[in-house]
C-alpha cells in the first residue's frame, strides 16, 4: 500500500459522531494522513441574543464551555489514536463558511465529514476539489475492504491515493430521450466509459491492484443498490457526475461515500 507523505486531513463532525470520524481517520492514517484539523459543528447557539449583560455572559458560557469541553475530548481521542491535531474550529451553525475558511487557509488533502446534513456539506466541498469522505453512520467497518469506484466519462479518476488490493469500477449510463438517438448516444457513452475504465484497470495493474469493472444502464441512484448487492464498504464517486447526481447518491447511500 503506498504511503503519501504526511497528508493533512480536515475532520468535520457533530460531536456525537466523533467515534466514526476518528475510525475513518485511522484508516486513512495507513495512506499517510497524520495531521488533522478538526471542525466541531454545533446546532445549538442560534437563538436570540440575550438582552442583559448577565444573560449574555451566562448563556454564552453555557454553550461555549460545553462546546470547548467536547472539542477537547475529541482532540484527546484523535491524539490518542496517534494522529496530530493541528487546529480546531468550533462552529455554531455555519458549517460551510468555516469549512471554506479552513480549506483555503490550510489546503487539506482529504476531508472527512461525519454529519447529519449531507446536502449542506456537499455544497461546501463540491467546488474544493479535495477528496472528501462523507459518513452518516456510527460503525464504518473495514472501510477500504470492498471499494466501488463510480467513474464519470472524461474525468480524472483521482482515487489512486486511496486504492488498495481490489476495487470494483462502475460506469453508469442514464437513458436519454428520444429512444432512437438515446440508444445511439447510450452506446457511445458506454463505449467511452468502458474504454476509460479499462485504461484505469491497466494503470492499476502496474500497482498490483485488481480492478474488475462494468458499465450498467440505469439511474445514478442505482449505485446505492449495487453497493448493497456487492456489500461495498466504501463508494467512491467522481466529481464529474455533478453535485445533483452525487447528492442523489449521498441521500440514499448508507455506506461511507468518498467524492474525488
Amino acid at each position: 500500500m503506498p504511503r503519501w507523505f504526511n497528508m493533512l486531513s480536515l475532520l468535520i463532525l457533530n460531536p456525537e459522531f466523533a467515534e466514526s470520524g476518528i475510525a475513518a481517520l485511522l484508516k486513512l492514517h495507513e495512506f499517510g494522513v497524520r495531521d488533522v484539523y478538526v471542525i466541531c459543528l454545533h446546532e445549538r447557539g442560534q437563538g436570540l441574543p440575550a438582552l442583559s449583560e448577565k444573560g449574555e455572559t451566562y448563556s454564552l458560557a453555557e454553550k461555549k464551555i460545553w462546546a470547548i469541553r467536547n472539542a477537547e475530548k475529541i482532540i484527546d481521542d484523535v491524539e490518542k489514536s496517534g494522529l496530530n491535531v493541528t487546529g480546531l474550529s468550533i462552529s455554531f451553525g455555519n458549517a460551510i463558511e468555516e469549512l471554506l475558511h479552513v480549506a483555503e487557509s490550510f489546503s487539506p488533502e482529504v476531508i472527512v465529514a461525519v454529519v447529519k446534513n449531507v446536502d449542506e456539506i456537499l455544497k461546501g466541498v463540491y467546488n474544493l476539489d479535495v477528496a472528501t469522505m462523507i459518513i452518516k453512520q456510527k460503525d464504518i467497518g473495514d472501510l477500504f475492504e470492498k471499494t466501488i469506484y463510480v467513474h464519470a466519462a472524461g474525468c480524472e479518476w483521482g482515487f489512486e491515493k486511496f486504492a488498495v488490493n481490489k476495487i470494483y469500477g462502475l460506469g453508469v449510463v442514464e437513458p436519454t430521450l428520444p429512444p432512437e438517438s438515446s440508444s445511439r448516444i447510450m452506446e457511445e457513452r458506454k463505449k467511452v466509459l468502458k474504454y476509460e475504465l479499462n485504461r484505469i484497470r491497466d494503470l492499476l495493474r502496474e500497482r498490483n491492484i485488481e480492478f474488475e469493472n462494468e458499465v450498467v444502464t440505469g439511474s445514478i441512484s442505482d449505485v446505492a443498490k449495487i453497493a448493497e448487492e456487492k456489500e461495498a464498504t466504501l463508494v467512491i464517486v467522481s466529481r464529474g457526475h455533478g453535485i445533483n447526481r452525487i447528492g442523489r447518491v449521498a441521500k440514499i447511500l448508507e455506506k461511507p461515500l468518498m467524492i474525488v
Binding site: 441574543p49 440575550a50 438582552l51 455572559t57 458560557a61 469541553r69 477537547e72 493541528t86 455554531f92 475558511h101
Partner: protein
C-alpha cells in the same frame, strides 16, 4: 464639514509607504465576554540588540471578522516583548478578516530569536460594531472559535540562565468576568536612565492569583517614560496558575533618575474563567508610592497613599483616534513624545491599546494626559509616546494609532468580593452543568 485624516501604511512591510484619506470619526462597539489568545511565533532567526526594536516575520495569524486584538502582558520571551503587529497593505476594517504577518519586537537584552520561538501572546476580542447589533448581546454563533495547535519554543530566563522548552500550544480562550483591579508597579531600586533607554527595573513583588490576566493601563504615570511590559523571572506560567511579577520593562522618553518607591505604571488585573475553576481573590492593602510628574518644566515628586480600587467594565466601548498634531521626523528605536489632536476623555473610563499598526513608522506605546488626573475624573489627552520601528516623517494630521476607551464602574476594593462571588458562583454552576 468632514474632518479628514491621513492613514499611511506599507504596501508591504518595509516596501513603499502609501496613504489614504479617511474621515476622523469615533466608533462604538460591543465586546463579548469571551476572549481568545493567539500565540505569536517567530518565523525567522534574528539577532536582537537591547532597546532596538526589530520587525520580525511571524507565522501568519488569521483573525476572523469582527475581532480586535490587544496585548496580553507579562513578557513571553526572555529577550523582550512584542509591542505591536502588522498586517500588509491598507489597514483592514474590524468587520473584515485579517492576516498578521510581522511584529515589532522590543528586546530587553542582546540575543538571538530563533524560528519557532514563542515571542508573545495576543488577546483576541470579539466585537459587534453595528448601531443596532451592538445593543444586543452576543450569541454563541457570533464568536468564531478557531485555534491552530502548533509546536513552539518557550524561551525564558531564571537568574541569568536562558531556557528553551518545546511546547504544544492549545489555547481555546476564556470567559472574562469584566471584574478587575489595579496593581501599581512601584520601583524597588534607584536607576539613572537616559532618553530612549530601556531597562528592566526591579519592582515591589506582585502576587497574581490563579485565573487572572494582566493588561497595561494606558496613560503615562511617570514623567520619564512608561512601562512596556512586566516580567516574571521563571518559566512562564499558565493563566490558571499563580504568578509573581518582579520586574517592569521601562522605556524612557527623557533623561532622569527613577527612585525606589516611584510609581512606574499601573496594570489591570482581570479575573477570568478557564477550564480550571480555581478562582481565588486576595485582599489588598493600600500602598504608598511617589508620583513623579512634570510641573512647569521640572520633574516633581509627590507621595501618595494608593487606595485599592476594583472596577467593572461595561460591554460597550469605543475607539478614539490618535492623530498627530505636528510634523516630526522619527528614527528607528528613538522614542518620541508626539503632540496629538486633544482628546476629551470622560470620567470613569480606562484606555487600552488597540493593536495592528496604524502608522507605518512605529506604534504608540502610551499616551500622555494633561496634568495629574484619576480614572474617576475627566481628562484631556494631549500626546502619544511613539516608538518608531522605521525612520520616517510623521505628518500633521496623520493617524498614529487607536485606543480603546472602556467605561468602568469604580468601587472600593471591598466591593470586588461581592462581584467576584456572584460571578464565580454562576460560572461554577454552569461548569457543573456542562462538564
Amino acid at each position: 464639514m468632514l474632518n479628514l485624516m491621513e492613514i499611511a501604511y506599507w504596501n508591504r512591510v518595509g516596501g513603499v509607504v502609501e496613504s489614504i484619506e479617511s474621515e476622523e470619526k469615533t466608533y462604538r462597539y460591543r465586546v463579548a465576554p469571551f476572549t481568545q489568545w493567539k500565540v505569536i511565533i517567530a518565523e525567522d532567526d534574528i539577532d536582537v540588540k537591547k532597546g532596538r526594536p526589530v520587525v520580525i516575520r511571524i507565522k501568519d495569524i488569521h483573525l476572523p471578522e469582527n475581532t480586535i486584538i490587544g496585548p496580553l502582558s507579562i513578557m513571553r520571551h526572555a529577550y523582550g516583548s512584542v509591542v505591536d503587529v502588522f498586517e500588509e497593505g491598507i489597514p483592514k476594517k474590524v468587520e473584515e478578516k485579517k492576516r498578521l504577518t510581522h511584529t515589532i519586537f522590543l528586546p530587553v537584552d542582546n540575543g538571538v530569536i530563533r524560528s519557532g520561538d514563542l515571542i508573545g501572546v495576543l488577546k483576541v476580542f470579539f466585537v459587534k460594531v453595528g448601531t443596532i447589533s451592538r445593543r444586543l448581546g452576543f450569541s454563541a454563533g457570533d464568536i468564531k472559535l478557531r485555534e491552530e495547535i502548533v509546536r513552539a519554543r518557550m524561551v525564558y530566563r531564571d537568574d541569568g540562565n536562558i531556557y528553551r522548552d518545546e511546547i504544544k500550544t492549545k489555547f481555546f480562550g476564556y470567559f472574562r468576568s469584566h471584574i478587575a483591579e489595579w496593581e501599581p508597579l512601584i520601583a524597588d531600586e534607584n536607576v539613572e536612565i537616559g532618553k530612549g533607554e530601556m531597562m528592566r527595573i526591579n519592582i515591589k513583588e506582585i502576587d497574581l492569583p490563579p485565573n487572572t490576566v494582566v493588561t497595561p493601563l494606558h496613560i503615562m504615570r511617570h514623567a520619564l517614560g512608561t512601562v512596556v511590559d512586566v516580567v516574571q523571572l521563571e518559566r512562564p506560567r499558565k493563566v490558571e496558575e499563580e504568578k509573581k511579577v518582579t520586574q517592569a520593562i521601562f522605556i524612557a522618553s527623557r533623561d532622569g533618575r527613577i527612585e525606589r518607591g516611584d510609581l512606574l505604571g499601573v496594570m489591570n488585573v482581570y479575573y477570568v474563567a478557564t477550564g480550571d475553576l480555581k478562582l481565588e481573590l486576595r485582599d489588598k492593602k493600600a500602598t504608598i508610592a511617589k508620583i513623579a510628574y512634570e510641573k512647569n518644566g521640572r520633574m516633581v515628586r509627590k507621595g501618595l497613599r494608593l487606595q485599592r480600587f476594583a472596577y467593572r467594565r461595561k460591554p460597550i466601548a469605543r475607539w478614539e483616534l490618535l492623530i498627530s498634531d505636528e510634523e516630526r521626523r522619527v528614527s528607528s528605536g528613538r522614542i518620541e513624545e508626539i503632540r496629538i489632536k486633544p482628546l476629551q476623555i470622560e470620567a470613569n473610563t480606562i484606555l487600552y491599546p488597540l493593536y495592528i499598526m496604524r502608522n507605518p513608522f512605529g506604534t504608540v506605546i502610551d499616551i500622555i494626559q494633561e496634568g495629574l488626573k484619576k480614572v474617576e475624573e475627566e481628562r484631556v489627552i494631549t500626546g502619544a509616546l511613539f516608538l518608531p520601528a522605521f525612520d520616517g516623517l510623521i505628518k500633521r494630521g496623520q493617524l498614529l494609532g487607536v485606543v480603546n476607551v472602556y467605561s468602568v464602574e469604580v468601587k472600593p476594593h471591598e466591593v470586588l468580593r461581592k462581584w467576584f462571588n456572584e460571578w464565580t458562583e454562576e460560572m461554577r454552576r454552569i461548569h457543573a452543568q456542562v462538564v
